[in-house]
Amino acid sequence: MSRHTVRPPFQPKHIADFPCGTCDEAGHLVETLSSWRTSTPEVNLQLCTGCLRCYLLCPEGMIVKKNGKVAIEFDFCKGCGICAHECRSDAIRMIARRE
């Protein structure tokens, strides 16, 4: 799966650095979005079977395949808990914490 490209934050120095109105280069994201996450998924690799159910169901595409199992990235993870709820091996649990 291709990953989102997040460009470094746009840091204009002059008004001319802005595009004319809301029209600019396409195909990349300008910032991450996960600020309202209040609980964070954690994978227990002992229990993970690598079935990829969570990978398919994550609405943000934040779960990646790694060494036959899964790993979670957090740039866009909202902490929704769908992965933990859907995991048939109880390999993912939600840890309540704000970052």
Partner: protein, 397 residues
């Protein structure tokens, strides 16, 4: 003048349609509403008889009409829409999308009162309520100016320094439904004046763009500053476009405003739109009696002609702002804008606000003569109430 192909006897609405055809828009999307209906009917007829080649979209509302124009503009098309009153208010959400997205849509608005009470007749409370929408606003006085300003509006809106939508306002019925002789320029002359729309601010397969995006608090203000600067810069573009229109097509309108006999005027009435003709007649009558009076027609309200207005009124004793509008609970919005512009004149000029013509009530020569009468009496006194409802039919005290 060879630039003018023919002379026709048409209504203000017809003149708008003729101007639109000459401007060759790629896309027209409009929803009929009194008193603008004849514009969309004429344009539809032109499409049917093959004299106008455009994508004419039938839409189910004004919200959709302007949305369709925005969508077409986003791929670089020249677009036109027309509306009035409640229809304009139904477009309001999209108006900010058009201006914020820098889509140079041109719109004709037939000035009509707002409900309630339900009323289809002329005043200017529809467009004046939209001064903050980020659109350029021009008010025309007659059918010829309507035709010419539709053509000029595209040249102004599409200028790369401007890239801002333009609203061309015609007084409903008084102008949309009255007939005049109008010079129609040749297609060749208009093509020379108004080249095809070219912009990089568009979506294409060659250069895909992210359009109409979000901006967080970190960047939003700068986009609004940019729009603000573009409308301020439009003042020069408007002057240039009007001058080259004058050179190429033989009619020049004075740019942001038009002044009539104000050089030595002691009392000046400020107007917009079709009532200016009546005001000029009254000025001529009073001048014949030796009174030093004049009239300034504000053609554009955005950008606002601050410097021009200031220098023209510096020596006037008292000024009146005649508008078919009231910002209910305060004063007329045009009056607010004029007072703000003139506050730096450094004089103690008295300025009165004449609120007249609401819901289509006639403004007569006698009414205007009385406004000048009132101005001469307040030049030395300072009335507590500067907002005067002209011709109220009943006692209020």
């Amino acid at each position: 003048m060879t630039a003018n192909g023919s002379r026709v006897f048409v209504s203000g609405n017809d003149a708008v349609a003729l101007g639109v055809r000459l401007a060759r828009p790629h896309v027209i999307a409009a929803y009929p509403i009194t008193p603008q209906t004849a514009v969309v009917e004429r344009l539809a007829e032109m499409v049917e008889d093959g004299s106008l080649r455009t994508e004419y979209l039938h839409v189910e509302s004004e919200h959709s009409a302007l949305s369709a124009c925005i969508g077409a503009s986003a791929v670089g098309a020249r677009t036109f829409t027309a509306t009035s009153s409640q229809g304009l208010l139904y477009m309001v959400e999209c108006m900010h999308y058009a201006s914020g997205g820098r889509f140079p849509v041109v719109m004709m608005n037939a000035n009509r009162s707002l409900a309630l009470p339900w009323n289809i007749y002329n005043d200017q409370r529809d467009s004046l309520s939209q001064l903050d929408s980020g659109w350029i606003q021009v008010y025309v006085e007659d059918a010829q100016e309507a035709l010419d300003m539709i053509i000029q509006a595209f040249a102004i809106a599409e200028n790369e320094k401007v890239l801002t939508p333009v609203m061309v306002n015609l007084d409903g019925f008084v102008l949309t439904h009255t007939y005049e002789l109008v010079e129609v320029p040749t297609q060749e002359a208009v093509d020379r004046f108004l080249p095809p729309f070219k912009t990089t601010n568009k979506m294409s397969f060659e250069a895909p763009k992210n359009m109409a995006f979000t901006a967080t608090p970190a960047h939003y203000t700068e986009f609004k500053f940019q729009q603000h600067q573009a409308i301020l810069d439009a003042a020069t573009v408007i002057a240039d476009v009007d001058h080259s229109f004058g050179e190429q097509l033989g009619r020049y309108y004075g740019g942001l405003l038009d002044a009539y006999r104000v050089e030595d005027a002691e009392f000046v009435l400020i107007t917009l739109g079709s009532v200016t003709g009546t005001a000029r007649v009254v000025v001529d009558q009073l001048r014949a009696e030796g009174r030093k009076v004049g009239v300034i027609k504000l053609r554009y309200l955005r950008p606002f002609p601050v410097e021009e207005l200031r220098s023209l009124t510096r020596n006037a004793w008292a000024l009146g702002v005649l508008e078919k509008n009231i910002s209910i609970g305060y004063e007329g919005t045009v009056f607010t804008n004029v007072r703000s512009a003139l506050s730096q004149n450094g004089t103690t000029q008295e300025i009165l606000n004449f609120v007249a013509g609401l819901g289509g009530r006639d403004i007569s020569r006698g009414d205007i003569a009385q406004m000048f009468e009132r101005l001469s009496s307040v030049a030395t006194t300072h009335p507590a109430n500067r907002v005067i409802f002209v011709n109220l039919g009943v006692e209020t005290a």
